[in-house]
């Protein structure tokens, strides 16, 4: 069998199913979407935290400092007003994004994005023209495998300020992680690939901590880099992964954490960008 035969066989699809799809195709579009490009979030987020919280240093990672660094509502209000005036003069909003940022989708508001742990992997935000998200309002968010709440401001140019917290609740257990062992310096997982094809992942990951129900990106205590290596997990197979935190984060304090990993659904190559899947696994440090 080949792909052309499958394509030819589609000619025998029942008319009723074709008609159902065709009705959707022909229906007038209700929502007009404006794409806003949003780049440089991770470094911008760090810069903004310094701006908002004063001289808080993020170089020494601690859960308490993450909580202290998170801007309060009053600070967000103040910051948003500052940002608006700054925008008019600077003409750019890239450095004016609050952290932590987990951007997700709310189809009812037409505000959509992809899930990410700290904005590192998501560079676009799409909003509908009639969306107005006022500071202080809670927006229910949803994206593939993640849901949560956002609280922020959408300005007149469509740029989003605020924070959001995503809980990882996969609709389908495509890729599972099972904790094998934990201590304050290391965690070992078994990764199960439930898909029918091989998936790939690198050494890189995001470490996040949960403080009062909000997920925050953990800032490393030193500059870190990851080996350029690609691991494969065969279809319906498992692989063990170990993450050591000593160098990047030091010994972890007690609390709730999660690791967010990006998986590629086909072997990455320079021409065809593979589909990606974000997977999160939570663990507690006593």
């Amino acid at each position: 069998m080949n792909k052309e035969q499958i394509s030819d066989a589609l000619s025998f699809i029942d008319d009723s199913m074709l008609e159902q799809t065709n009705k959707l195709r022909m229906a007038p579009r209700a929502k007009k979407i404006t794409r806003i490009r949003w780049t440089g979030v991770a470094s911008a987020a760090a810069a903004v935290l310094v701006l908002v919280a004063g001289a808080t240093s993020l170089r020494l990672f601690s859960r308490q400092s993450m909580k202290e660094a998170a801007p309060s509502m009053a600070e967000q209000n103040h910051f948003a007003m500052m940002a608006e005036s700054a925008t008019e003069s600077a003409g750019t909003l890239e450095s004016k994004v609050l952290a932590p940022i987990d951007r997700v989708a709310d189809e009812s508001n037409g505000f959509e994005a992809k899930p990410t742990s700290a904005g590192n992997w998501l560079q676009e935000t799409t909003v509908s023209e009639d969306t107005s998200i006022m500071l202080g309002s809670n927006i229910n968010l949803e994206a593939d495998g993640f849901n949560g709440v956002a609280n922020g401001l959408l300005d007149k140019d469509g740029f989003y300020y605020g924070n959001a917290s995503l809980n990882y609740v996969p609709e389908q257990q495509d890729i599972n992680y099972t904790v094998e062992s934990i201590d304050r310096n290391n965690v070992t997982f078994t990764c199960s690939n439930n898909l029918s094809s091989t998936v790939y992942t690198g050494d890189d990951y995001e470490l996040e901590t949960n403080i009062d129900g909000i997920w925050y990106t953990c800032e490393p205590i030193t500059e870190i880099g990851f080996d350029s290596i690609l691991w494969s997990v065969d279809a319906k197979a498992e692989r063990v992964f170990n993450y050591s935190f000593d160098y990047a984060y030091g010994e972890l304090q007690g609390g709730k954490y999660r690791i967010v990993k990006k998986f590629y659904l086909s072997a990455p190559d320079p021409v065809n960008k593979p589909e990606e899947l974000l997977v999160a696994v939570e663990f507690d440090i006593e």
């Binding site: 069998m1 052309e4 499958i6 066989a9 000619s11 699809i13 189809e107």
Partner: protein, 186 residues
Amino acid sequence: MEDAKIVQLYLDRNEAAITESKIKYDKYLMKISYNILFNNEDAEESVNDTYLSAWNSIPPHKPEVLSTFLGKIARGHAIDIYRRHHAEKRIPSEYCSSLDELEECVPGTSTVEDNLEAKRLGEVINEFLKTQKEDARNLFIGRYFYSDSLKEVAEYNGMTEAKAKMILFRTRQKLKEYLEKEGFNV
């Protein structure tokens, strides 16, 4: 004009059937053909062939839903033209990229001894699609029958491209498993 009246014109061998078909379905058939051929001239050729085929097949056929009847014919003609031209050069159409995606559904490797009945395969795919959720089914049909772009299928299904892409990926995976279970050349 209602489909039933247009079909009656065909049955009465009244050439107004073609005119009325064009008025109602020309844009729709051009879209199907253009998605496959990526060329206006070739798409027009496909659509004109479609009207001729419809004229020659009604009767004996008496379609209840003229849009899907004509759509299937147009798709078939467009794919024939695509294959004629594709031998000479790659056509960068949505059909071409959707075909590449469908390759993931192929269970195992094909052999020269394959004597696959498209109808039997079509029946199996039909049964498979009936087991899928409505959004997955609409996405699959939109992408792989109508060859609409990922952006279009996501938009008219009211979801993000990322979500549509993931649902299509999972549906292709499930189709592959379904075909293997049905004994198609594992």
